[in-house]
């Protein structure tokens, strides 16, 4: 499959990333290689084989409804690039 510029721009937009022209060419090549590898996998005959989603046998794995593992606010915010005393802050994402 050919990764053309319009498909690349769409992926860029969906991933919220922005690439320089020279990076684009390299990434386009990488993506094409990945798709070619998948194409190779597609050549395997999987007729009548159910898709494998879960590596383990389906087990009913649940946890009890208990409050556990909460972080302190200070710690929770510390990893964010921008925050104030209460909130993580980001550029405004909506026009009001």
């Amino acid at each position: 499959m050919q990764i053309n510029d319009s498909l690349f721009s769409k992926l860029e937009n969906l991933a919220k990333l922005d690439f320089q022209p020279q990076e684009r060419e390299k990434l386009k090549q990488d993506l094409e290689n990945m798709l070619n590898m998948v194409k190779q996998l597609e050549s395997v005959d999987t007729e009548g084989v159910a898709p494998l989603v879960y590596i383990n046998e389906p087990v009913h794995s649940t946890r009890p409804d208990l409050i556990d593992g909460q972080l302190k606010k200070k710690d929770a915010l510390s990893n964010a690039p921008n925050h104030n005393d209460d909130f993580i802050t980001i550029p405004k994402v909506i026009d009001l």
Binding site: K16, V53, S61, R63, L66, Q70, I88, T89, K92, I94
Partner: protein
């Protein structure tokens, strides 16, 4: 906006709903953060809800029975093995970059809810998912503030078929659904706090058309009143566009509760390619027949079953029945009474007109009312025996009973002298006094002004301090007023 005063053609409104129901578990759907509403921002978060690398979600066991209970109430098919998918959605209120939801294989499929007007609304499916955090846009001028307390709160999203034809039907549906989820105790259903939220899909077509036109989805509808307002506005807007010979554009709209109008939701994030794929971190949710049977036995009587029973067994009107079953607490209080005591209809009236309003004013639950059902029954017996009038019972005796919960109502009534008199001699004395005092009015009555009977009754009641039995008095009075 100018809306057309006269429609040229006959139109039909077509509405479908997506209702988000927050489940009332203690902790979140995939991790142990508290789901408490109104906590300080970013205090109910963990490495999992903040999507730190390497963390693993695990489903809260309480959400499964809650979902199944809704399925039993709505007569849905309960999926023995439902699965989770990732909905890619790059938005800051979802720290993972995707929402865990059920796309291909939801936990409940189909089902119905019958409205008060008799029409049946079909449910397409109900799926489990996690709530997003909250983005706050209005507190800082150039920034969006993020609070992740809500991120990961368990949700059931109920999707209906486009079966609604009016805003009234939507209002009825939301009322019944909220009542139901409270009865089966899966959510507090508080729309103001966002425990139940609703997106409304609206389109309009010419009456008789079979195909659906473009629809608009109205977001941010957080009360039943707003849902109705948004629909009224949107239907008029769409008809105006069609009358002008144009086509309604498929759009996501915001509802402004202050103006009652809808407007296009302009977001800088407009990618709607969700690229769903199975979430390998979460095994399927397995629901066995045994589990469903166990929950079936635990199901409470549903509101519409109770309504039918109450109407049939006690001959109570539809309107009063609606009030009696409005809330589970009231219904249980009423049903407890009916199990032990007589005068059910009178008790229903007392509950609706006196006890419920009293508790509302005092902001206390019925269960804390210092009135035993035995005493209330005794009071109603006195009314039935004509020992006390209903008005004296509710206006004079009831307040005394609240103040003296351990004294019997019979004793209290006797002590306060509010027992009703049916003694003919006593009644005659009061009647004759009044007749003697107003000879002009007596003459007027005899000359045909029959409405004066009310005036005489009022005077007699004043003299007797409300003790005169109205029925006996009225009969005796009419006789004595004859020329």
């Amino acid at each position: 906006m100018d809306l057309p005063k006269m429609k040229k053609k006959a139109y039909q409104t077509v509405i479908g709903l997506e209702v988000h129901i927050q489940l009332n578990t203690k902790s979140k759907i995939f991790c142990g953060d508290s789901t408490f509403f109104g906590a300080e921002p970013n205090t109910l978060v963990s490495a999992i809800s903040l999507a730190h690398p390497g963390t693993l979600p695990k489903i809260n066991e309480e959400v499964i029975p809650k979902a199944v209970k809704l399925g039993l109430a709505l007569n849905s098919k309960i999926n023995p093995s439902s699965t989770f998918d990732r909905k890619s959605y790059f938005y800051a209120d979802l720290p993972k970059g995707y929402q865990i939801t059920q796309d291909k294989n939801p936990i409940l499929i189909g089902g119905q809810l019958t409205l008060e007007d008799g029409s049946q609304i079909n449910i397409h499916h109900v799926h489990l998912e996690e709530d997003a955090g909250k983005s706050i846009h209005h507190l800082a001028p150039h920034k969006t503030l993020l609070d992740y307390n809500r991120a990961g709160t368990p949700l059931l999203e109920l999707v209906t078929e486009p079966d609604f034809r009016s805003g009234e039907q939507v209002e009825q549906f939301l009322y019944s659904l909220r009542q139901l989820i409270r009865y089966i105790d899966i959510s507090d259903g508080n729309m103001e706090q966002g425990s139940m939220r609703c997106d409304v899909n609206i389109s309009v077509r010419l009456l008789g058309d079979q195909h659906y036109n473009n629809r608009c989805e109205v977001k941010n509808v957080n009360s039943m009143k707003f849902a109705k307002q948004a629909i009224t506005f949107e239907v008029q807007r769409q008809i105006a566009i069609m009358e002008a010979g144009e086509t309604v554009a498929q759009n996501t709209l915001n509802f402004n509760p202050e103006t009652g109008e809808t407007s296009p939701l302009r977001s800088k994030e407009n990618a709607t390619d969700y690229r769903y794929f199975p979430d390998p971190d979460l095994p399927p949710v397995l629901v066995s027949h045994e589990f469903i049977d166990k929950l079936k036995k635990e199901m409470p009587k549903l509101p519409w079953v109770l309504a039918q029973n109450i109407k049939e067994m006690y001959g109570i009107s539809k309107e009063d029945t609606r009030l009696l079953i409005a809330e589970k607490e009231i219904a249980n209080y009423f049903l407890d009474y009916t199990k032990q005591y007589p005068h059910v209809k009178a008790f229903a009236n007392l509950l609706i007109n006196k006890l419920i309003p009293f508790c509302k004013v005092k902001k206390m639950p019925l269960s804390e009312l210092a009135l035993s059902k035995a005493n209330l029954s005794e009071m109603l017996q006195m009314v039935a025996d004509n020992t006390i009038s209903m008005s004296a019972a509710t206006q004079k005796l009831l307040p005394l009973m609240i103040l003296n919960p351990d004294t019997s109502p019979v004793e209290l009534a006797a002590k306060q002298g509010i027992t009703q008199s049916s003694n003919k001699d006593e009644l005659s004395t009061w009647i004759e006094e009044v007749i003697a005092e107003y000879p002009d009015k007596v003459k007027a009555y005899q000359n045909g002004k029959k409405g004066l009977i009310g005036f005489f009754m009022g005077e007699i009641m004043k003299r007797s301090k409300g003790k005169a039995n109205p029925k006996e008095t009225s009969a005796l009075l009419s006789k004595k007023l004859e020329p």
